[in-house]
Amino acid sequence: MRDVVEDWMQLYFDQASRGTLAEGARLDIQRIPITLQCKACNTEFTVTFKEVVKARCPKCGDAQNIMKTGKEFCVEGIEVACNG
């Protein structure tokens, strides 16, 4: 759901990391799937960005959903290559 432009994020990262240990590092951006929970029957299901405003519960057909995942925005970890 986050409005992140991945190419720009890498370009800004390249600028900010110049001259540091992180210079030349590649950002691996993983989009977390959008998971909705039906307000009526609590069924959880995954939808695409385009489907999110018209999603119906696959089990009971209800149209009101609570978003459970899809807004995450965090640094999960760093992979470092160590010599030797």
Partner: protein, 237 residues
């Protein structure tokens, strides 16, 4: 041979902003001040709605306004003309307000003399949705001339607000804006949000919206005994 090691970070990118936003909420709760964040596209009626809120509610609450703009003092001058304290934040290019900016504005205000602070965010349906300002209530406006499809283009904004106000409904009969489809989509995306239809131009629906806001504010703060008279004295200053 290179060995690849994974260092777990698990750090929220907005942690610094979110922590300060939580601090602001806590501090304002202690000071008995209710902070509302108003977001929308440019020209959808944020300033007009703020002026309506001031006119209808300043008899009950002591209101202050934080105006966010990339440049100019136009909006804060309009608001100050209504007789309430207004602070203009000029972001100089930044397209949203965040917790540090709102915090800086709050530090210039006499919070002991205020019950309700309205934040007019930068006109933009993208970035303001990303940054918690420390507000107790997040409200957005969509105006009829913008079209009913904005929820398809900017779903994050529609998903983070407590209330959607559809403004300029006096234009409905001149447009193909589909209010029912918009409400259906909003109920699907954000079923907890309230939806109001208003026109700041002819006043339709504004009283109804202000009654809802009044209920939210009065549930969020406690007015001092005789608070109304305190507010009235302030309003006439």
């Amino acid at each position: 041979m290179d060995e690849i090691r994974l260092i777990n970070i698990k750090e929220q990118i907005f942690a610094k902003n979110t922590n300060l936003a939580n601090e602001i909420r806590e501090r304002l709760r202690g000071k008995n001040v209710f902070l509302m964040n108003l977001m929308s596209s440019p020209g959808s009626g944020k300033t007009s709605l703020i002026i309506e809120i001031i006119r209808k509610m300043k008899g009950k609450y002591r209101i202050g306004v934080i105006e966010g703009d990339i440049d100019s003092l136009v909006d804060s001058e309009k608001v100050a003309a209504e007789g309430v304290p207004a602070v203009q934040l000029r972001t100089g290019g930044s397209c949203h307000l965040d917790a540090p900016m709102v915090n800086a504005a709050l530090e210039t205000m006499d919070l002991a003399a205020l019950d309700l602070v309205l934040v007019e965010n930068i006109g933009n349906l993208v970035c303001p949705a990303e940054f918690d300002t420390g507000s107790a209530l997040n409200v957005m406006i969509l105006s009829v001339p913008e079209g009913d499809d904005k929820i398809l283009k900017y779903p994050l904004m529609f998903s983070v607000v407590d209330c959607l106000i559809v403004n300029k409904i006096d234009y409905l009969s001149f447009s193909n804006f589909d209010l029912i489809t918009l409400c259906d989509r909003m109920h699907t995306l954000n079923p907890l949000a309230e939806i109001f239809e208003i026109s700041c131009a002819n006043g339709e629906g504004v009283d109804n919206w202000c009654r809802w806001l009044d209920a939210r504010v009065s549930a969020g703060i406690r007015l001092e005994p005789g608070g109304e008279s305190v507010s009235t004295v302030h309003a006439e200053d």
